[in-house]
């Protein structure tokens, strides 16, 4: 499928298949088209040509709102509703489908992302950035999604929070049997969390490898350029440690 804005082609004739249960990372520089590709899955972006099949059907077969209630979505801006309590934010998805969410389930979801259950009654502006993104994840999980989409989910967080939350999401992915697609510009994060890494450049997928294959030098020049950054950082850190020792 493709997506262009006037003359600018953001996603250029991409074809790919994502297996149920996998954790896929979409990596690339800014403007490589990775976010646009992700958003075409839940129809926040509409393909200029081509189509998206989800669970066997074309995503355009149903109203976008209905589709999105089956797909968890976490993004850098978090987007907690500032006028709703934490608990109400988490329960918004089920509420939209007219079901509602029992308090016990809200508490369970908060515990899942390692927050205290009594946080449900707080307002979003009383929370730290890391806590807010945990609530964002809990909100995405509340609908028991078949698919979890994450667009730079930890981009605005400090490194320690970022690392901890990344680990947590990977753990939840295993525990809940999710299918997860995560957009990130950080190759280290992709290598550590995903079991399949798609590298994008100017709208095309230029590499589709496992983390292990990327680490042994496969995937081509652009992918290796991205892998080189954290590797060199690690080597320089090791060298410094060596000098100290």
């Amino acid at each position: 499928m493709s997506r262009s804005y006037g003359d600018v082609v953001a996603v250029d004739s991409v074809t790919c298949e994502i297996a149920q249960g996998s954790f896929v990372a979409l990596v690339g520089a800014s403007g490589s088209g990775k976010s646009t590709l992700l958003k075409m899955v839940n129809m926040l972006e509409v393909p200029s040509s081509g189509r998206v099949l989800f669970a066997g059907g074309d995503v355009t077969q149903q109203p976008p709102a209905k589709l999105r209630r089956r797909i968890g979505y976490v993004f850098q801006g978090i987007g907690l509703f500032p006028h709703l309590r934490v608990g109400e934010n988490i329960a918004i998805g089920p509420r939209l489908s007219g079901e509602g969410l029992p308090e016990a389930r809200i508490a369970e979801l908060l515990e899942l992302v390692e927050l205290e259950p009594d946080m449900a009654s707080r307002m979003p502006d009383e929370l730290s950035g890391g806590q807010r993104q945990r609530v964002g994840v809990a909100r995405a999980l509340a609908i028991e999604p078949e698919l979890l989409l994450m667009d730079e989910p930890f981009g605005a967080l400090d490194p320690i929070t970022r690392d901890a939350l990344g680990e947590k999401v990977r753990e939840l992915h295993e525990k809940l049997g999710l299918t997860t697609i995560m957009v990130t510009h950080d190759m280290a994060e992709a290598l550590l969390l995903a079991d399949r890494v798609l590298v994008m450049d100017t709208g095309e997928i230029v590499a589709d490898e496992t983390p292990e294959a990327l680490l042994v030098g496969q995937g081509g020049e652009i992918a290796q350029g991205l892998v080189a950054v954290p590797r060199q950082q690690a080597e320089r850190l090791a060298a410094m440690e060596g000098r100290l020792a």
Binding site: L44, P64, Y73, G77, G79, P82, H83
Partner: protein, 511 residues
């Protein structure tokens, strides 16, 4: 002068009318602005057109906007039929609602434009339909800003509503306009205080609601809403008690003579058992139309005014003929009953100091012609452009040494101080008697006559009881009696209210 507290507490019915008018206008403004704002937030061209239009409306002076609705509604009668009111509540409501539009619309559009894009993306991302997004996210987050717009609109509307007096809608502007004309400052002050007080209270209540919405405190905004609702219901209850279709509505234009005559007529009708309501301070152009459409039942108008403004005539057939033609036209074309002339004129005339006229041996405009080249003539700023002046000048061949313009108030001072020898005056002006002036006669009848006459609306034209109650006024008021009454209201010291002056006038003319 009536006690200030009496005046202030006597404004209950005006206050109730003011509250209902302003609340309805703001309500209508909200009802139009909010859907428009939603539409504008989804379409850039709509936003530009809507905001542009609202800003344009805002540049029209409120007084002009109110007046403009008269011809607009008049032309709409072709669509909605003759029953469409052209004066009073409807045009005031429409003009004020239009005026209230801008602040509400602008705040609502700005609030929508400034919503956090992340929050909007999340709303889409969690699967809200566009209606759910509006209801659950956009509306509650914009509410405090929209409320701030409503607050601004309310303060403006309550202030501008005082101007609706001029198109025949009772409001707190009634005492302000009446007081300005008769220089009764207590009346002006009472009207201003009441209107400003109302604006302050409403501002405080809406501010409470705004803060309640911003801090998501249901108690605060709930209490504010309840208080506002109580105020509106109170006004409605007050007014519905006073509504009566049998009430006779008496108009007056914006000068003392009109207020006095309205009171005189009103008191006679009350004695005859009628309920009476006054519409004071109407625009001169509005009064005649209001009588024709029976929005007003009784008005005093002047033959020269109707001759020029309604019949569009510029010739001068003489006093009797002019009256005959007007009476025939009113009764034939409009169904308005011309009860008769009161006996005095409020015409343009030339006045001089009594001693100066005696020294120069002048009694008429004909005598003036010979000495005019040595004299200075004074007039109000428009006088020397008016057909009355041109007519007189050409009829007598008047040539003065100098023409000077004075504001009406200073014209008389100029005469007493000798800066002008002759001035243009109004024949029934109280200052003619007070300043010991003489009015020069007009033997060639070059100045059109302005006979005061009583007009009765088509709705009341056949009410013989009413006619019987007013008949004694016909031919009963001579110009000296009217001048005295006018002066009693206009003078700066020991002034009377129009009501008191009307009582004295009734005694003088033996009624």
């Amino acid at each position: 002068m009536d006690g200030f507290a009496d005046i202030l507490f006597g404004l209950g019915d005006k206050l109730a009318a003011h509250v209902i008018l302003a609340a309805s206008a703001i309500g209508l403004g909200i009802a139009v602005a909010l859907p428009l704002a939603v539409w504008a937030s989804r379409s850039q061209p709509v936003a530009r057109v809507a905001l542009g239009f609202a800003s344009l409306v805002q540049t029209i002076p409120a007084l002009a906007l109110l007046a403009l609705f008269f011809p607009i509604l008049l032309s709409l009668r072709a669509v909605f039929g003759q029953g469409l009111p052209t004066l009073g509540f409807l045009p005031a409501l429409l003009a004020l609602a239009l005026y209230a539009l801008l602040p509400i619309l602008r705040n609502a559009v700005t609030a929508q434009a400034n919503l956090d894009p992340g929050v909007l993306e999340a709303a889409d991302g969690v699967g809200m339909t566009s209606w759910q997004k509006l209801r659950l996210v956009e509306a509650p987050l914009s509410a405090p800003f929209i409320m701030a717009g409503i607050r601004t609109a309310s303060v403006w509307t309550i202030g501008a509503a005082t101007l609706s007096t001029t198109i025949g809608q009772p409001s707190l502007g009634d005492p302000i306009f009446a007081g300005l004309q008769t220089q009764n400052w207590a009346l002006v002050l009472a009207g201003c205080l009441a209107s400003a007080g109302l604006a302050l209270i409403v501002d405080a209540l809406l501010g409470l609601i705004e803060r309640g919405l911003a801090r998501r405190s249901k108690i605060k905004w709930g209490a504010g809403m309840v208080a506002v609702a109580l105020g509106i219901f109170g006004a409605l209850a007050y007014q519905s008690g006073g509504e009566d279709d049998d009430t006779i509505v008496i108009a007056s234009k914006q000068f003392s003579e009109q207020y006095i005559l309205a009171q005189l007529i009103g008191s006679r009708l009350e004695d005859a058992g009628y309920r009476v309501e006054y519409r004071d301070g109407l625009g001169s152009a509005v009064v005649h139309n209001a009588v024709v459409s029976s929005n007003i039942d009784i008005a005093i108008d002047y033959t020269g005014t109707i001759w020029a403004n309604q019949l569009k005539r510029t010739d001068n057939p003489g006093r009797e003929e002019m009256y005959r033609v007007i009476k025939q036209w009113e009764e034939g074309e409009n169904g308005v009953r011309v009860l008769g002339r009161l006996g005095f004129e409020n015409a343009y005339a030339f006045a001089m100091r009594e001693d100066r006229a005696r020294d120069l041996n002048l009694t008429s405009l004909e005598d003036l012609v010979a000495v005019a080249p040595q004299l200075t003539v004074g007039g109000d700023p428009e006088f020397f452009e008016r057909p009355e002046w041109i007519g007189v000048r050409d009829a007598y061949g008047l040539r003065f040494a100098q023409q000077r313009n004075f504001s009406p108030t200073f014209m008389y001072n100029a005469l007493t101080s000798g800066e002008a020898d002759v001035i243009s005056a109004y024949t029934s002006d109280g200052r003619i008697a007070a300043d010991r002036l003489v009015v020069l006669e007009d033997p060639r009848e070059a100045l059109p006559s302005y006979d005061a006459m009583v007009l009765i609306s088509p709705r009341r034209a056949d009410d013989e009881n009413l006619v019987a109650a007013l008949e004694p006024l016909v031919g009963a008021i001579d110009v000296n009696a009217m001048r005295d009454a006018n002066f009693a209201v206009d003078r700066s010291e020991n002034k009377l209210s129009p009501k008191k002056a009307a009582e004295q006038l009734a005694e003088v003319i033996g009624l």
